[in-house]
Structures are given as C-alpha cells and as structure tokens.
Symmetry: C2
Subunit: 213 residues, 2 copies
Amino acid sequence: MEPAAIERLSFAIIDAETPEPRPYTGHQWEVARRLVHTSADFELLSLLKFHPLAVDAGLDALRGGATIVTDTRMAQMGIPQRRLGALGCTCVCLMNDPAVMVAAKQQGVTRARVAVDMALESAGKGGPVIFAIGNAPTALLRLLERMDQGQPAPALIIGMPVGFVNAAESKQALMAQQRVPYVTIAGRKGGSALAAATVNALAEIVLRERAEG
Amino acid sequence: MEPAAIERLSFAIIDAETPEPRPYTGHQWEVARRLVHTSADFELLSLLKFHPLAVDAGLDALRGGATIVTDTRMAQMGIPQRRLGALGCTCVCLMNDPAVMVAAKQQGVTRARVAVDMALESAGKGGPVIFAIGNAPTALLRLLERMDQGQPAPALIIGMPVGFVNAAESKQALMAQQRVPYVTIAGRKGGSALAAATVNALAEIVLRERAEG
C-alpha cells in the first residue's frame, strides 16, 4: 500500500472508532484525528484544547508563508519540508545554534529559554510566526513572559510540552491567557511528534484548499 | 532548575506513581521509566515487551561502539550526539538519502523498505548494529524478511512503529521470532520519540557504568 493510502485507511479507522458525537468537528477534527494518528492515543481527544480562533489563525499564517519555530530538532524533522516548501513556509529550530549555547551558558539559563528570545528577535521578520513547542516548559513559559512584557504575540502557539515537571503548569498558563490563539494538550501528555503533527494537519488543510482551487 | 535535576525529579515522580510491585526491575525498569518520561503515558508499562536478552544485547552493542539505524530523522534527532559520541557510537538514518529515494521510485516500494536494505549493506561494517524503528511497519517487516532470507541479525531490534495499519501486526511478527533480541510496544502505540528514548535509556546505563569506573 502507498503511504497516502495507509494514511487514508488510518483516518477511516480513527473515524470509525471515535463515538459520535465526536468532540470536534471540521478542521478541529482534522487536527485531533492527526494527533491520534501520530500517537495511537485516543485519550488525547479529551485533553486537546483549542482557543476558538486557533485553527483560523494557524491557517492564515500558513497561507501567508509563516515561519514555524520549534523547540526541538525532533519537531523540526517531523514537519516535512515538502509540505512547508509548497506553502512558501519555513521551519527553524535554534536549540543547537552556537549563539544560543554560548548565551545560555553566560546567562545561566536553559537553551530553550534563550532559543525563544533569539527566535523572537530573528524569526519571520515581518511575516507570521507559529511557535510549535513540544518539549520544553521553559520555552513556553518564556514566550508567555515575553508577551507579558510587551512582545508582540505570534500568530499561533502550539503549546504541547510533555512531562512531569512544569509541563502541565506551562500549558495551564497558556490556556489562562487570551492574547494569542493556542492549541494545547492539557495535563502531562504532549511531545515533539504531536506539536509537529498539529502543524502538519493545518498545512494539509491549506494544501488541499490550493489543490481544489 | 537544571535539565538534569528536572529529569531526576521526573523519574522520582514516575517511581512514586507506579504501584509496587513494578512490572519491571533493574535495567528494564530504567528503560520503561524513560518511555513513560518521554510520553507521560503509563499505559506503556503494560505494553512494553522485552526479549529476555534484549537489555544485555543492547548494552553490549553500545559498549562496542554500535551503529544505530533509525527509520526517521525524528528518531535520529531524538538520540543526542553528546550521548552517542561519548560512547564511540553513531546514529544513521537513510530515509532522505538520494540513493534511497531513487531506488524506491525505481522498485515501486516504500523508502522505508529500501532504507533497511541499504542499511543492512552499509551500516556498522564489522561492528554491532541496533535498529531503532519508531515509524514504519514496512521497515520492521522488511528487516524480519531479510533475516528470514539469511541476513545476519542485528544485535538488537527496537521495534516500535506506531499506527493503525500494520503497526501492531509488524510488532507481533517481531515478538513471534526468537532469532534476534527485541524491545517492543505491543499494539498500536509507539513512535520515533519512544524508539529514541529506548536507545537513550540504554546509553545512559553504559555512560553511568563508565563514570562509576
């Protein structure tokens, strides 16, 4: 079977196994379904939370050639360039940038935090930016802190740190604010693959729009 | 908090929340705990399956400067070079290799399948090899097929494809054979992050051994 056929069959299985009424419809369901496809974890359907403007904000950003900023190379690798390139979008991750490593050591803070600061300075000059955070609570918390300090908000935050220390709390803080649309997974679950899958689901919607003219 | 301190605290939380008697002990528990750490999914504790020789085979391979072959760039990025380099190990992924792309198109088969064939020819010449498969059932099935055809077995197969079409079946086939030690996750769950985490858990054990002299 071709990869595209396997994906269609997988989505049909997820559709069939999700009781009606489904917790999401339309584009939100397309995102939710891809997260289940990526993880085989149906529990995500009760944990996934969308700001009401999140899908529209994400689609608009991708239509406008967004820069996607990830907090791991894993998430960056999970967003195929063939999808992004076709949309005129790019994906960057500064975690292994030598300047980030030097600054983190000098400031005595995490690379994730410095990478957010540097991304805010450099990414998507003039164009829309989507942050896709699947690993580091400190990245998400730093981004929210900078917004509190007056930094213009990105178009969308995909906030999905995974783990047992500060991950749930960082996502709670994301959901508690209203300045920027978000997609998140409440609680401890999350991860780079899920953050990437959210971008991919939104990108697929835009690519389909274009194919359908 | 430092990343290392966060990790220790996370492991302590997982220890505390896993009822005694735990399903695994010793090194197997260290692997299992890291998979929970990566996913925040305690259900993995009932799905994770070790061939009885798997941990020893994996540790021996890493002590011997193994080549780790992954089926995704995501998994490759999830295995930090700082860990592997300290052990004299390397990690390769051929999925985006131009020769793999050409051959897959010519043969009309998946890149994942061709990448396994090419890895069997080129990876770890003379040294131990660990396959870490977190995405493509066709990669795992091709590896088992080649072994059936007489291909020497790798030191260890970490077989953790995720998904709804052939993932569970490919892992069933892995567990049904006895020629090669394996670590796997029964059923649909799995993924690149979990395959990478399994390598990382084993690498941490070897690094600790060395640090303790």
